[in-house]
Subunit: 240 residues, 2 copies
């Protein structure tokens, strides 16, 4: 549909072990859709150097933008920044502007900027910092990869910092038709309308309510007139 | 850690557009952890033939087991079964035992087994069916790939059908230490203990409560004695 494409990389053992339920994917998906960027793939990998590097390289090559979440804190399992540097063959070290941000933050709160916290000022060479209004330690952008924190409030703030800098396409619009019939009874009609509107995406999501079968038919398109036309034909062909 | 590895492939535009929040990943992660299988990677792709085939092949080669969710219903956007057949170079057609299951189901409910519903009996050659006690239409296993529905109640029932057939390892156990100090203040200690216990995984997950900084330190291992030993050293070194 001509819109820019994006992928997301979620980094963290805690998601894969089932300890934590990820919420950043759902948040980012909604934000990108509103901004006219098509989220095309998500990967979740563990805190493993090879897995992170491999995924970053594959996604960076395959899509216009990549957003990562997780692994940029002060502890030993926070290895994302070093992996990103390796993935792009760049040096990484404590950067003065990032250190100054952290120094001011910890001075204000009366805490010490110790060696562990200073790790959060390690930034790959040539990266642009991403503002973190919640807890100061910055994210960063290298090439087309935006590296952000996993804590949801910080992740969301960083997405708000990054998104306005990216050119979006026409936002994908959607309308939903709720049909109280089984999926199998409306499948033929959906198929016919989908074939007639190749530029419109039609999805069918079944549900059961009080023992009766129903389906939400979701129609998505970047062009409002085509969306309306597809909805009109669907409603007519389904006898609604 | 010697346990079998697994990957999950979530298939569906509705997740990537932000319309639906996936819950199957979190469910599967917990079940696999309890069963002693390490979930090592998750991918989410759209209803796109090439994306599905590519992901299935990559994950099937890389891990002991692959679990897919979504795209096996009766509508035009349900293309998973055909993609799995293509990914493994197998023929696919309506299979008599699967058709008989559906025929009995729709006879009972007084609905017609029409052409759309019959698509749910299309099974790649040589696959084993996965029992679906919720809504009958079966999943299936081809080589090391277990193909299941996206509707959470059906997905969960199919996981319950498949898991007992798989050999698990020692279940990964975990204990959590709640510490009311900032991550940066305990990072050195965590690092030291992590280095002393290479067979134990130590994760640190920060939180803020009533303006104070804290962290949940999660220690995971398959060996209970090692887990206890790491927890004991952590508590001592943190002065708890």
């Amino acid at each position: 549909m001509g819109n820019p494409t994006a992928a997301m990389l979620v980094i963290g053992d805690e998601i894969l072990s089932g300890r934590t339920r990820d919420s950043n994917m759902h948040f980012l998906a909604g934000e990108l859709t509103r901004h006219g960027i098509n989220l095309s793939e998500v990967r979740v990998v563990s805190d493993d150097v090879d897995a992170i590097i491999h995924a970053v390289q594959a996604l960076s090559e395959g899509f216009d933008h990549v957003f990562t979440s997780g692994g940029i804190g002060p502890t030993h399992d926070d290895i994302t920044a070093d992996c990103i540097a390796k993935a792009f063959g760049r040096a990484i070290d404590v950067r003065e502007d990032a250190r100054a941000l952290l120094q001011a933050h910890y001075d204000r709160s009366g805490q010490e900027l110790n060696a562990a916290r200073l790790r959060m000022a390690r930034i790959p060479e040539g990266a642009a910092l991403i503002d973190n209004p919640v807890s100061t330690a910055p994210g960063f952008t290298v090439e087309n990869v935006h590296v952000m924190a996993g804590v949801p409030s910080v992740f969301q703030a960083m997405v708000a910092s990054v998104l306005p800098t990216l050119t979006g396409g026409a936002p994908l619009m959607s309308q939903t038709l709720r049909v109280m019939r089984g999926e199998g009874d409306i499948a033929d009609t959906l198929s016919t309308v989908a074939a007639a509107f190749p530029d419109v995406s039609i999805g069918c999501y079944p549900f059961q309510k009080d023992g009766a079968y129903g389906a939400n038919v979701v129609v998505r398109a970047s062009d409002g007139a085509r969306l309306d036309a597809a909805m009109t034909q669907l409603a007519r062909d389904l006898g609604l």
